[in-house]
């Protein structure tokens, strides 16, 4: 069976740079001296710590439980002692701290429980969802949305197709490629568990054509289940974007504000499928992941299986350190990844740690826009980046929104092709942030206005009540006086 593929608009072909890490097997990373496990590694509410400073924890032990409907728990990546629960540098461009549980490993790496295999196909879909939630699995392609919430959508809307995203269209990154090549059977098992969990009728594993070995391995492993189909898709950035993967595979565009589930679709990353396999079949929480450590500044670029919470510093050290000082240190791929502080830890959504040299970046000095229109041709969403940027530059945020700012997926294709090196994505990020800030301020101002009005009303009511009470008292007093007088009069009268 051949699946008909659909074209997407725009897109770019950045240089791949995948070879240095794609050709070598995944290696483990030695235990670092300290692990910094952030309580929030996902979209949604942060986890609530359930351990105390000084407490001994075992590998896989729950250290933070999920708060609210969209959240994920956090587990100890190894056995050791909790030394602090305090703010530590977050893997975020601001360099601001987030609360982390710091664990000093004891080196024994002792599991909380012995491995116990269960047959996932005997479980109900709800139980699978519960196990995925308890394991703290989040989307591992980078967005880090709690996976159980997505799987749970299947209980509300019927899902017919499960899409597994093995696109990995970002340059440099090869962690999904290596995972598919080396652990194809486990990935397929995870996909089948998710099929069972969502009750979907088929699963499409989409892999870009530049990963022939991964396609071969997964096709071989997928033979055990005819519902699972491996699809070769064109290598084009940003093919890995959820919206564009859906468009490529189904020809349908996700209407604004709708979720894939509304179209009967659900999209998960291959690394998430692997984590689901471990969690549901073996009851193991998400405490490690495969990270591509790459970039021209590194001495030994590799794919490493890394414990969550490992500082970037240690990770770089175990890859031979830097050959030269990197111009930028990134988390994620170079097209959408973010600059991060040097001491930030690896989190569940870290697909890569990329150290780029100045030559690799070669983004020149910003010049005036010459309206060449390359950004318009490159935009996969059909926007006019040059128009949006010129409006944002003049602080005309409404104009930018009219031009589709809210539809922008920040893929960076426009800035990649811009010959004038205009920081288009930063303009869009700035404007999106400004709009959020204004909305927040407006919401707060509404609340404050309401509170001020209520207070005013209360003060008036109190004044009125006081006046009424005074009047009543006065009336009572007078009534009493009158009664007294009357009584006195009666007495004197009789």
């Amino acid at each position: 069976m051949i699946l008909r593929l659909f074209r997407i608009r725009g897109g770019v072909h950045p240089p791949e740079h995948k070879h240095p890490t794609a050709s070598r097997p995944i290696e483990a990373c030695p235990l670092p001296a300290r692990l910094y496990v952030p309580l929030q590694q996902h979209i949604g509410a942060p986890a609530e710590p359930v351990v105390q400073v000084g407490e001994k924890v075992l590998k896989g032990q729950l250290i933070g439980h999920a708060q609210g409907p969209v959240s994920a728990p956090v587990h100890a990546p190894t056995s050791g002692t909790v030394t602090t629960i305090a703010p530590h540098a977050a893997p975020h461009p601001s360099g601001l701290p987030v609360v982390c549980v710091t664990i000093e490993p004891d080196g024994e790496d002792r599991w909380e429980s012995a491995p116990a295999e269960t047959d996932p196909f005997l479980l109900t879909p709800r139980e699978i969802g519960e196990r995925v939630a308890a394991a703290g699995i989040v989307g591992m392609g980078g967005a880090a949305f709690p996976s159980a919430v997505k799987l749970g959508a299947a209980t509300r809307t019927p899902i017919h197709t499960l899409i597994i995203n093995g696109g990995e269209c970002e340059p440099y990154l090869t962690c999904d490629d290596r995972l598919m090549r080396e652990r194809a059977v486990e990935v397929i098992d995870g996909v089948r568990i998710m099929l069972h969990g969502t009750q979907a009728t088929r699963a499409l594993i989409a892999i870009e054509e530049n990963k022939p070995s991964a396609i071969r391995e997964l096709k071989r492993a997928a033979r055990i289940d005819e519902r699972v189909m491996v699809v070769r898709i064109p290598a084009l950035y940003p093919m890995g974007s959820e919206k564009h993967m859906i468009q490529t595979l189904t020809g349908r565009e996700l209407p604004p504000g709708r979720l894939p589930a509304d179209l009967g679709l659900i999209v998960h990353n291959v690394a998430t499928a692997f984590a689901v396999h471990r969690a549901v079949r073996f009851g193991r929480p998400l405490i490690s992941r495969i990270v591509t450590v790459g970039g021209g500044a590194l001495r030994e670029p590799r794919n490493r299986e890394v414990l969550i919470g490992t500082p970037i510093e240690d990770l770089v050290e175990c890859c031979g350190g830097f050959a030269e000082e990197p111009a930028r240190l990134l988390m994620g791929g170079p097209m959408m990844g973010q600059v991060i502080p040097w001491n930030a830890p690896v989190v569940k959504g870290t697909s890569g740690v990329i150290a780029l040299t100045r030559e690799e970046i070669h983004i020149g000095e910003t010049r005036a826009c010459i309206r060449c229109g390359r950004c318009v041709s490159a935009c996969p969403v059909g926007l006019m980046p040059l128009e949006m940027a010129s409006r944002i530059r003049a602080d005309q945020f409404d104009g930018a929104v009219d031009h589709g700012l809210n539809d922008c997926i920040s893929c960076g294709s426009c800035a990649f092709v811009c010959p004038a090196s205009i920081p288009l994505v930063q303009f869009f990020n700035f404007a999106k942030g400004e709009l959020v800030a204004r909305k927040t301020a407006q919401d707060k101002s509404q609340v404050l206005k309401l509170m001020a009005e209520q207070r005013q009303a209360r003060l008036e009511r109190e004044a009125r009540e006081k006046a009424e009470a005074a009047a009543r008292k006065k009336a009572e007093r007078e009534a009493a006086k009158r009664a007294e007088q009357e009584a006195a009069a009666r007495e004197t009268g009789t």
Partner: protein
């Protein structure tokens, strides 16, 4: 030549008459601008503008007695909206977005006097007599009225520290024109 003068004058007069007539016939009743302005205002009645509350300030603005940049808590965004509503060109370059401030109680100094509690226009201070007070950050408008009444200087206005969630990308600074 005289004909031209006569014709042009007559045209001018008649057109002027038509215009005048139209102005009377199609006159639009003035919008209740003050109410619209008040709806935009923060509404916390903080009095930082120099008027007793948001309503008097809105009325002053509608009368054209106050500048659109009068409201520090509203910041640049409000000034822009007001300028648009009133159709005035205002120089907003000087209006910095006020650094949002929040009141905080220094617990070592608070004597539980209830003065700030009564002064707060949004009921953001909670506490009881002889108990240490506390400010609810969600309800604090940052107006600073509590600071003025506090007898022990335990109320402080502190800028809101950005967190990973509230941090925003700055506007790109371009060297080239």
């Amino acid at each position: 030549m005289y004909a031209a003068i006569v014709v042009l004058t007559a045209m001018g007069l008649s057109l002027g008459f038509v215009l005048g007539l139209a102005a009377r016939l199609f006159r639009v009743e003035a919008d209740p601008v003050a109410e619209k302005i008040e709806a935009l205002m923060p509404g916390s009645q903080c009095g930082q503008c120099g008027y007793p509350g948001c309503k008097p300030a809105a009325e002053a603005l509608a009368r054209g007695e106050a500048s659109v940049t009068l409201c520090p808590p509203g910041g640049r965004a409000l000034a822009e909206e007001l300028a648009q509503l009133l159709g005035v060109q205002a120089d907003l370059s000087g209006v910095k977005d006020a650094v949002p401030m929040l009141a905080r109680v220094d617990e070592d100094l608070c004597i539980g006097c209830l003065k700030c509690l009564r002064a707060c226009p949004t009921d953001a201070v909670i506490g009881a007599a002889k108990q240490i007070h506390c400010v609810l950050p969600e309800a604090c408008s940052g107006c600073g009225k509590c600071v003025d009444v506090c007898p022990t200087e335990c109320m402080q206005m502190l800028p809101i520290e950005p967190t990973v969630r509230t941090w925003r990308w700055p506007k790109p600074v371009l060297a080239a024109a």
